[in-house]
């Protein structure tokens, strides 16, 4: 048994010099041990040559190729932080523009793929801890079932360079995505439309909310008001 482990360690180049010598001597005297080792080595070679190696799909590779500078992590992080800081002061409208496009894209992707939620639950006490465990913040999860908006679950997404919680509600057959991420300041509710979807947004209580749905404007605004109360 000890020999068996030693054979594997020897094969993997993990046996120290003294033990290697000892094992080589043992194999020279014991053809069965030698044969056992040869089989193991052959198996290892077969796995290396014949097992599939699965490279990442293109969508992961794209982000991998862009910044080789990830290797310069600290410098990059500082530039990034400076960029975010500048962005907050200088580029609020453009920032919102990009975020608006991203949240609508995420909504469309989720709907097309039929993958609306990572955690299916109508219970806010299930959804909230699930999200808190996976995000650096804890988004409020409101129960609006009394008002006719049923919580169906939540998912995680990555939009405009940050991780966000997406709460998924349903009104009749309309899916309503609520994107929640931390925000430095409050913002009054505002409404817009993009690609045929109605979008509402506001920020309060340290969180920014973007709401996307194909629900009609009036009901979506009602929903936003309920959420903001």
């Amino acid at each position: 048994m000890r020999d068996d482990k030693a054979l594997h360690a020897y094969l993997d180049g993990e046996l120290d010099a003294a033990a290697s010598l000892e094992l080589e001597r043992a194999m020279a005297e014991n053809p069965a041990l030698r044969a056992s080792y040869e089989r193991m080595r052959e198996l290892s070679a077969a796995v290396r040559e014949k097992a599939d190696y699965h490279p990442a799909p293109v969508r992961f590779e794209v982000s991998a190729r862009r910044p080789r500078t990830w290797m310069l992590a600290p410098a990059f992080a500082m530039v990034l932080l400076a960029g975010i800081g500048l962005g907050v002061f200088l580029a609020q409208p453009r920032d919102d523009e990009a975020l608006g496009a991203d949240v609508v894209a995420s909504h469309v992707r989720a709907t097309l793929a039929g993958r609306l939620v990572d955690v299916p639950s109508s219970d806010q006490h299930t959804v909230k801890p699930w999200l808190s465990a996976r995000l650096p913040f804890s988004p409020p999860v409101a129960d609006l079932s009394q008002e006719g908006y049923a919580l169906t679950g939540a998912r995680l997404d990555y939009v405009a360079g940050q991780s966000v919680a997406v709460l998924v509600y349903k009104r009749r057959e309309h899916v309503i995505d609520v994107f929640v991420s931390p925000a430095a300041r409050e913002a009054a509710p505002s409404a817009s439309a993009r690609d045929g979807f109605n979008v509402a947004r506001f920020a309060r209580g340290g969180m920014r909310y973007w709401i996307v749905s194909d629900l009609n404007r009036n009901e979506l605004d009602d929903f936003a008001k309920l959420l903001a109360r």
């Binding site: 044969a35 056992s36 040559e49 799909p57 990830w70």
Partner: protein
């Protein structure tokens, strides 16, 4: 970190055994990796693989708990098959199937060792187990593969417990 995305995906793909779930798990792991980027110490590949490995186990616990049922890490008694294994004549499909059929802890050790060429120490850190456990798991993985790939593997074989 990101240059190791292929290694990350390969591990996720072997642990979940299908593309769809591997992509989901990798997505989740990448979010974590971004979030904990400040915590990066030492080499990037083992660090990223540890995050991916944990994301896989979390996913398996939630979706396929049966696969994580406790396995015995202690190697069984040595029962060398008399016939020589003609590994080089095996076809890819047989090798892939045999690896996919391994219990998760053994599969994980094997993939990290043979496909990523990581050291016992690195595998121990990624899997969060002692080096001795890595050694036994690797030994078990190879023994199970050897049994599955025996020339007569198609014939049903009784497992003798001693």
């Amino acid at each position: 970190m990101l240059p190791h995305v292929d290694a990350a995906y390969n591990l996720a793909r072997w642990l979940t055994r299908n593309d769809h779930d591997a992509e989901d798990v990798l997505q989740d792991a990448m979010l974590r990796a971004y979030r904990f980027f400040g915590g990066l110490r030492g080499e990037a590949r083992p660090w990223l693989l540890a995050i991916v490995r944990n994301a896989c186990w979390t996913w398996l616990q939630a979706n396929r708990p049966a696969e994580l049922a406790a396995v015995d890490d202690e190697p069984e008694a040595d029962t060398p098959g008399p016939e020589a294994l003609l590994a080089r004549e095996l076809d890819r499909r047989a090798v892939n199937q045999a690896i996919a059929a391994l219990p998760v802890p053994f599969r994980e050790a094997l993939v990290l060792r043979e496909l990523e060429d990581l050291s016992y120490k690195e595998i121990a850190r990624i899997a969060g187990v002692p080096i001795g456990t890595v050694m036994s798991r690797l030994a078990r993985a190879r023994r199970l593969l050897m049994e599955a790939l025996r020339p007569a593997a198609s014939a049903p074989r009784l497992r003798v417990h001693k």
